[in-house]
């Protein structure tokens, strides 16, 4: 046991002594959290639009003002005729053109009806549909105010409640995802590389002939990363809470226990990778393509799994981070307890055992 502790201490020194590794371990997670948190928002603001006003009357001016003062839009250009629309879109500096027909006010007064055309650059379809919706909503609101004097306009008003994330903050979605990604990156990638490096440099053989048992060697290499990952998980949760106000509605202890389970899962995966690869480069490649891409794409981190084609949904079931993300989202945002996440927890525990058994099998084959 004493020997083992000495070995673990040596491994810690290795990691702490190299400033580049420290930057990778602690700098990258923090920078990423801050970036994702601040940069990724779903609200629309300051979208650049152009207006083609063929009428130039009081009403069109009022509508234009209403749109601009909403904060969603910036009037980038006033177009003179239809011919300029295509040109502006092609230069790519505006996202939407609002066209008032000629004699707008007159028509509205006499025929009680006038037309507005909204042209959106749908090369980014989601932004386009959000923009047109915002625009119509503002115009209808104006119309209600205009009509309000005469009559209670007949209509249904929806009361909308955004559950769990009232301000539609991107952080709520990203913090669980980043947590999974960082823990994967550090635990699986770093351990697999550090184990393979010993193999590559031939120092693994030296360790194997030492009185340390193989299991102790692997544990010794892995222990520092377990602690480092845990510190990372903790700092991500704290950053989320104090910088971005992401709540931990559920049990904090449960959250930490689940994180430890996931770290164990990632570590066992890292060990498995190290048993199948014989160079740092191949360990890196396997980790990149087998771990990182799926973590980002197929775990529900950014993209909802429900929208994917069936095959990908099936593959997504096999992705460890997917389960972890569900668990932390549930605990942090919905405040549910183990009763709600026991299924996912079992999946993670099952995967840990699976990877460990596979690694032991692989390792024995190699020794023979």
């Amino acid at each position: 046991m004493k020997r083992f502790i000495g070995f673990v201490r040596k491994e810690f020194y290795h990691i702490f002594r190299d400033p580049r590794t420290m930057v990778i371990l602690f700098g990258i997670p923090i920078v990423q959290i801050l970036l994702f948190g601040f940069v990724i928002t779903n609200e629309i603001k300051d979208a650049k639009i152009a207006i083609l006003d063929q009428s130039h009357d009081e009403i069109t001016k009022e509508i234009t003002n209403k749109l601009i003062s909403s904060g969603y839009f910036i009037l980038e250009q006033k177009l003179k005729s239809n011919n300029y629309i295509e040109d502006s879109f092609k230069k790519g500096n505006i996202k939407e053109v609002i066209v008032f027909e000629s004699n707008f006010e007159q028509k509205l007064e006499r025929e009680k009806k006038a037309s507005i055309q909204i042209l959106a650059d749908a090369s980014d379809p989601n932004t386009a549909s959000m923009l047109t919706n915002y625009t119509s909503a503002l115009i209808y609101q104006y119309l209600r105010e205009l009509n309000g004097e005469f009559i209670n306009n007949v209509q249904i008003t929806p009361e909308v409640r955004m559950l769990y994330n009232p301000y539609l903050l991107g952080v709520y979605m990203f913090i669980p995802g980043i947590m999974a990604m960082i823990l994967m990156l550090i635990s699986a990638l770093m351990t697999s590389i550090s184990l393979v490096r010993e193999k590559e440099l031939g120092t693994m053989e030296v360790l194997l002939v030492s009185p340390l048992r193989p299991l102790q060697i692997v544990l010794g290499k892995v222990t520092p990363y377990f602690f480092l990952s845990f510190v990372n998980a903790l700092s991500i949760v704290l950053l989320g809470k104090f910088v971005f106000g992401m709540p931990v509605t559920g049990s904090f202890v449960l959250l930490m226990i689940e994180s430890m389970l996931f770290i164990l899962l990632a570590l066992s995966l890292g060990i498995l990778i190290s048993t199948v690869s014989d160079s740092q480069q191949s360990a890196m490649m396997i980790s990149m393509f087998a771990l990182l891409l799926p973590t980002i794409l197929l775990s529900g981190f950014i993209y909802p799994i429900e929208n994917m084609p069936a095959i990908l949904q099936w593959i997504a079931y096999l992705m460890p981070p997917r389960w972890f993300i569900i668990i932390i989202k549930d605990i942090m945002l919905k405040g549910v307890g183990l009763l709600y996440v026991w299924k996912e927890t079992l999946v993670i525990i099952f995967m840990i055992f699976l990877f460990i058994i596979l690694s032991v099998k692989k390792f024995q084959v190699r020794l023979e």
Binding site: T41, G92, K95, I116, N147, F150, I156
Partner: protein, 374 residues
Amino acid sequence: MRTILFILQKEFLQIFRNKTMIPIIFVVPVIQLIVLVHAATLEVKNIEMIVIDKNLSQTSRKLISKFEGSPFFKVKAATFSMEEAYNKITNDEATVLLVIPEDFENRLISEGKSNIQISINAINGMVAGLSNAYASSIITDFNKEIIPDIVTIPDKSLLAIKNINITNSYWYNPDLNYKNFMVPGILVLLVTIIGLFLSSMNVVREKEIGTIEQINVTPIKKYQFIIGKLLPFLAIALFDLAFGLSIGKLLFDIPIVGSLWLVFGMTIVYLLVVLGVGLFISTLTNTQQQAMFISFFFMIVFIMMSGLFTPIESMPDWAIEFDRINPLVYFMRIMRMILLKGSMFNDIKADFYSLLIFAFISLGLATWRYRKVA
């Protein structure tokens, strides 16, 4: 010139002899396009909805069928229990809950006004925002089309109501096909990843195996070395672009409106930027592992901020300022404009010049940092 040819010959031999290289060149584009386009979809359709209709009137049914009739919503279950409905949302079985109160129709007829409640699981803000937008446009339509039929309004007042008729038209992508948006973006990611990883790990590999020293004692000129290292990756990345474009066209039928010559010309300029950065990273690091981590870090930052996932306008001001030095932003815009809108060189001139400046800077840095020393 002859010296460069010798370097090129050697680089190509090494690239094609490397067994991990072929999968990278051929498999990465396929995976990226096929998996990413399907997986990385923010196309929001068939949002699952739970309905609590306490009114059970003709109007409430019409409203529900209006939701059901749109491609955006799918009514998954109807119930009367609020608890059950919330449970379903908590368990992610549904995203939206629509509650129609008991006095819905009555109030509409007597007061001309009524409320409904819509609750949305907003953990994914993007989906929630879109769900809200779709729901409100359905209700707006319902207000306009159906209510006048149901509710009798005195003729006089009807006459007094002014109405503005809004028509939306979506240019360049009338069906709001999300793939048209993603494919050009993914092509940009593709050439960036291939270019950056291959170039950043290349020179550092020669450092690791020690051959760089042997090259440094030869009278080879810096620019010959850099060009010899750049061109093979330029060729591979361009090949991958062509490959990716073909997949996009054949599998997803993405529109290619503008000139392909322009696409490739712009890609060359952009790749000079990326490869310069890669070589620069290569000169700063000592091991492939470091090179890989640094490239990975920068790539994540630049990709996340590139506007592929969220529109740049929505970002905070400092991020918008930062994006002025993000080459991906320029190239992503150029690709979309040429491919989807058929923009000509004149339309993208400004972005082109910016990329050109980046190319000079990054190649300059790489040449400057590359020292023929041990």
